[in-house]
Structures are given as structure tokens and as C-alpha cells.
Point group: C2
Chain length 344, copies 2
DNA sequence: TTGAAAGCGCTAACAC
DNA sequence: GTGTTAGCGCTTTCAA
């Protein structure tokens, strides 16, 4: 049925090992034989069989891609896009991706099958994942790359967002517009990225020489979605007019904050400037479109894959942290503060 | 390192072939030997190696899952959930899923690698896909299951939404509320599901004995998203007060329609009842929450996988159409028509 | 009911 | 440079 390496060898009039060498670009094959082999390969539409190769090389040719179920089925395709970047990159290095989701809580009876069967050569873990699964994989000596997540101990490679720089860009942007009193609303402080954004806010405020008001730093929400953004904004508004701009920890919270303003009759950006972070779909579609920080999601996925492949090839070191740069995208949710609102 | 079948055989004191029989639940092994083998398997944490098995059985143990890139990175996790259902079901039948996306336009140089390498035993194609890729796969005699899509010729298995029944439920719901003049807005008439919804609307209106007004059937939009819903609704409104309810072809268009109403100062459902279809995230989060048709997405994915596995096992027939039932979800976007609006 | 052995398609070590 | 050959771990005849 499908052509095997023997068929190619026969047609080209060479040994199977020669075909193997050509196909894998290994070793010293004469231009002439190589040409013969390549022709036979093309003619028979030969493709090496994955399992046969895997059996002898003791490599599966697969990478695992693990993320939590709720991350994946989230309305915003944040993680989907990371996967897309990974899958796309995988094609160019000839790996397959085995995507699976896990529940938030580690359950040793629900270990991904590709780990049990050792059917992957490395694993990419995306977003918040149980620490135990990371340990489990590490124990099995499989290379790991975390994406948008990190563990306290710096053993594992990670692809991270430059959260601090993003916040810095936002603060500077608002500062340039004339804002002096900015609030920050965050949530889900279990995620290291959220902590970074929150910290970076305080730091930047101080290094920029702006007054820091602890009442304007609200990070007590459990999660960071539209609803919690709404709630946080309401809290802020109930404190009175002490700020002219609100920096939300992500786009979803920003959308919620905008809604809270609007339902109280405030206008964005006229009465308050509000910013997001991540640049997801809703940053563009919501009204007003959000000024936010663009996070290159596909690029993160691609970087993770490339790094993982590098670890296996021996060209990259395990335990490296790669930080992905971000950039400010100015849209319609920020403007100069209304002079009369506050003069500080 | 990892235990092989020989290790198990040695520990259990039997032949490798016996272990194989036990592990695969094949054939007549005595209770006693079976017990010995199972213990050895557990003790060594033995799992058959995918590639080795694949090599001899000539089965890859993988299924391909293909959908278009834009479907997958859509804001609403419609297709993501279908995948989730597939992946989950795959675990129970011991298959791996190889997910890949393709561009809308078929490009023979970009054929998924798992097809070239014959590294899948069957393929699930989801949503609108190029016909040519279906032909390509069929030519290679790989079983195919389409999900939420169908081709004119009824050769391939498909898992479909009961669109007609969904529309029927909506019309009846509105009718019960007292509506007599309903409009329908649709888009993307390249998708067979959209055509079905549109047709079903007209049919149901007639069989219910309601007056059918062709001006209230708007299916001329290119796509079916928030924006086109908005545009369609504006067209409708510009025609004057000839209807009290609007049935949108999906939730996104319904959201757009609601916005169009609101920006003209109309209130939903006070002035107009508006319904969606699909029951995606935004049906719940948008205000008012949409009355819509719930489509069990995970179930569709699971059904597709189960069917594909069935085809391979010989317990299901290729070319079968499975229709997934849907149900009405009443929320806040529908109510009785305002008596003074129209009495017809 | 169990065991011995062949061989799936490929790579890699070793001859030549 | 190229060919011969021994397995990788498993399933599957075929004998016993």
C-alpha cells in the first residue's frame, strides 16, 4: 500500500540505510546517489513511518501540551492562540502536538495518557497548572517548558510575558496624557503574572514620582473577569473622585470597569481613562475600544515549542526563562483627564 | 528504563505473547495466569509502547482533528468545546488526537503532516472546511466524520445540529408569548446549518399558521457575527414597526441586533423580543441574557469520536448522519409583545 | 491454554 | 560512500 523505505531503496537501486541517511540528512552521501534517492522518494511519495522511526530512535516525535480545562474553554481565545503558535511551529520541526486538558486539582488517577505511555519527548504546560503535575513530569525526566506561569524554584524553563514593562508603558502613557492619580484593579493573585502586574504598578508610580495612594490599589478579587472588574470599579467609585485613570490587570476586568462606570452615568474616557492588558478580542470589540498592552500569544507558543525542541537537540538549556516583549496599543479608552475633575 | 513486555513476562513467569493477550483482553487465558500477569503489569507500571504497537498493527492509534484556523481562534469557544468533547472521549477508547488547523483555501502544499505520513486512522473535520481536503482524505481511504458541516453528496458520516427543530422551538416559544410578526436575520449562507435555520424559519411560520412576510427574512449578510447582526437589525428597523420579535441565526448576531435596538432607544425585550442560537458564552453574559437554543458542543465532539472509533471497529457504518437534539433556554431577551406596538 | 518465533519499518553500528 | 545486519517493543500466526 504505502511505500516503505525498502521500496525506495529498490527503486533507487541503493541500500535502505542509504535512503535513511538521505532522508535524515545525515552523513556523507554522494550527490549522485542522493539525487537518485530523492527522485525515488518523490516518485513513490514516500514518508517515513512515525511509529517505526519512534521505535528505534526511542523518541516519540510528540510533545505534550497541557492546560487546564477552564483555561481552554474560556471565552477569550488567549490560550487557544498560544496553542496555535505551538502547533504551527511544531510543523516546521516535525513534531506532533498532543493536547490535553487537566482539572485544576491534581488527581493522580487522571494523569494524561501520553505521560503514562511515555508517548511524548517533552511537555509544554500553559497557564496555571497544579504543581504536582510539574513534579510528576520532572520525575520522569521529561523536559518541561512552562508558558505564562512560573514556579518559585527556578528549575524549569518558562516563556513569560514582560508584565512589569507592560504596566510601565501604561503608566507612562497615562502620565503623558496628564493623569496623576491612577488606580489599579487586579484579581486572581495566585497567578504570578497578576502579582507582577500589581507590583509593577506600585513601583512605577513611585519611580515616576507620582503620589501613591494605597486605597487605589485593589487586588482583593478572587478571579480576574468582567464581573470582578465591575465589582472592583464600583468599590473604587464609592470611595469618591480621587483618581482620573484606572489600570485594570487585564482586558476582561477593564471591560467590567468600563461597564461599572457607564451604569453610574460616567463616560469613558471623558470622566475616567481605563486601560486593559493582554489585547484580547474584547479589547477591540467592546466600546470604547480599549487602550491595552498587546501580548503576542502565538509567539509565546512558538517560542515555547522552539525552546523545547532546542532542549532535546541540545542547543538550549533547561531552566531558561524567556521573556516576551509587549507593546502599548492606544485605542479609545484613554484620554486627557478632565481638568475640573481633580487638580491635585 | 521503562518496563517492556518482556520484563512483565519475566516477572510473571510467562511468555510475552501471553502478556499481550492479557493486556489486550484477547483470547483464552486462564484466570490464574491472567492474575499473575496483571500483578506484574501493576508492579512494573507497564504501559504498552504506542509506536511498537502501531508498527505491528499498522494502526497509528491517532485520529486527526481538522478545523479552520479562524474557527478555532474565534472569540467564542464553540469549536474549542467540540474539541474538548472529542479529546475527552478519545481517552476512553485509547486514541490520541492530533489537532491541526487549515486555512480556508485548500492548498495542496499545506496538507496536514499526519495525512502525508499516514499517522492517523481517521479524521474528524469540524465546521466549514474546503471540499478538496475532504476528497483528499477520502481518496486515501481514511474514515471521515464531519461535525457541524455536511457536503451535498451523502457519502460521509456527519454529526449535525438539529437546526430545524431549534428554530421550531423558538418560533413556538415566541408564538406562545403572543408574537405574530417575527423577523429572521441570518448570514454566511455558505454554511449548510445557516441555510437550514433560515429555511426552517419560513417553514415553521407557515405551518404554525402565521403570516409570512418576505421582507422580514434577511439573509443577505456575508458573515454571522455581532456586526452583521447589528447591520441586519438596522435594516429591519428602517422598514418600520412591522414585527415584534427577531430570531437571529446565532447568538453573535442576536447580540448585534440587541445593540442596534438599544442604540436607537428601543428596549429588549420590552419593544422587541430577540433570540439567539448556539448558547455560547455571550448569550449568558450579554445584557439582556439571551433566550437561545442550547447546542451541546462537547457532546457533538464526543459523538463524532465515538462514531469514528465505531467505523474502525466495524460497529458503525460510514456515511451515517447523527443529529444532535437541541433545547430552548429561556432567558431575558424574550417576553410578551407590547400590546400597543402592533395588533395585526 | 501457553510458548516460540517471525516480522512490522526503521535507524545505527559496523563492514567493506 | 555504501551495503549488511541486528534489533527497537510489540502482535500474531502456528505448534505444542
Amino acid at each position: 500500500m504505502t511505500a516503505t523505505i525498502r521500496d525506495v531503496a529498490r527503486l533507487a537501486g541503493v541500500a535502505v540505510s542509504t535512503v535513511s541517511l538521505v532522508v535524515n540528512n545525515k552523513g556523507r552521501v554522494s550527490k549522485k546517489t542522493e539525487e537518485k534517492v530523492r527522485q525515488a522518494v518523490a516518485q513513490l511519495d514516500y514518508h517515513p513511518q512515525h511509529s517505526a522511526r519512534g521505535l528505534v530512535t526511542r523518541r516519540s516525535g510528540n510533545f505534550g501540551f497541557i492546560l487546564s480545562t477552564d483555561h481552554f474553554s474560556q471565552a477569550e481565545p488567549f490560550y487557544t492562540k498560544i496553542f496555535l503558535g505551538t502547533e504551527f511551529e511544531a510543523r516546521s520541526v516535525d513534531y506532533y502536538i498532543l493536547l490535553t486538558t487537566i482539572e485544576r486539582h491534581f488527581n493522580s488517577s487522571k494523569i494524561p495518557r501520553f505521560l503514562l505511555e511515555r508517548n511524548v519527548d517533552g511537555v509544554i504546560l500553559v497557564g496555571t497548572v497544579p504543581h504536582k503535575i510539574v513534579d510528576y513530569i520532572a520525575e520522569r525526566r521529561l523536559p518541561i517548558v512552562l508558558v505564562d506561569y512560573e514556579l518559585p524554584r527556578m528549575i524549569h524553563s518558562a516563556v513569560l510575558i514582560d508584565n512589569a514593562d507592560g504596566i510601565r508603558q501604561i503608566v507612562h502613557h497615562l502620565h503623558e496624557l496628564g493623569h496623576r492619580h491612577m488606580a489599579f484593579i487586579g484579581g486572581d493573585m495566585k497567578h504570578p503574572g497578576m502579582i507582577q502586574r500589581c507590583k509593577a504598578f506600585q513601583e512605577t508610580i513611585e519611580t515616576t514620582g507620582l503620589p501613591f495612594d494605597p486605597d487605589l490599589l485593589l487586588c482583593d478579587q478572587e478571579t480576574s473577569n468582567i464581573e470582578t472588574g465591575y465589582v472592583a470599579m464600583e468599590k473604587l467609585l464609592s470611595q469618591g473622585d480621587r483618581f482620573t485613570a484606572v489600570i485594570a490587570a487585564n482586558d476582561a476586568m477593564a471591560v467590567g470597569a468600563v461597564r461599572a462606570c457607564q451604569s453610574r452615568g460616567y463616560r469613558v474616557p471623558l470622566d475616567f481613562s481605563i486601560t486593559g492588558f493582554d489585547d484580547v478580542e474584547s479589547a477591540i470589540t467592546s466600546r470604547p475600544a480599549l487602550t491595552t498592552i498587546h501580548v503576542p500569544k502565538e509567539k509565546m507558543g512558538a517560542t515555547a515549542l522552539r525552546h523545547l525542541a532546542g532542549i532535546i537537540k541540545g542547543t538550549a538549556y533547561e531552566g531558561t526563562r524567556v521573556t516576551i516583549p509587549v507593546r502599548l496599543v492606544k485605542r479609545d479608552s484613554t484620554d486627557h483627564p478632565r481638568s475640573h475633575t481633580l487638580s491635585a
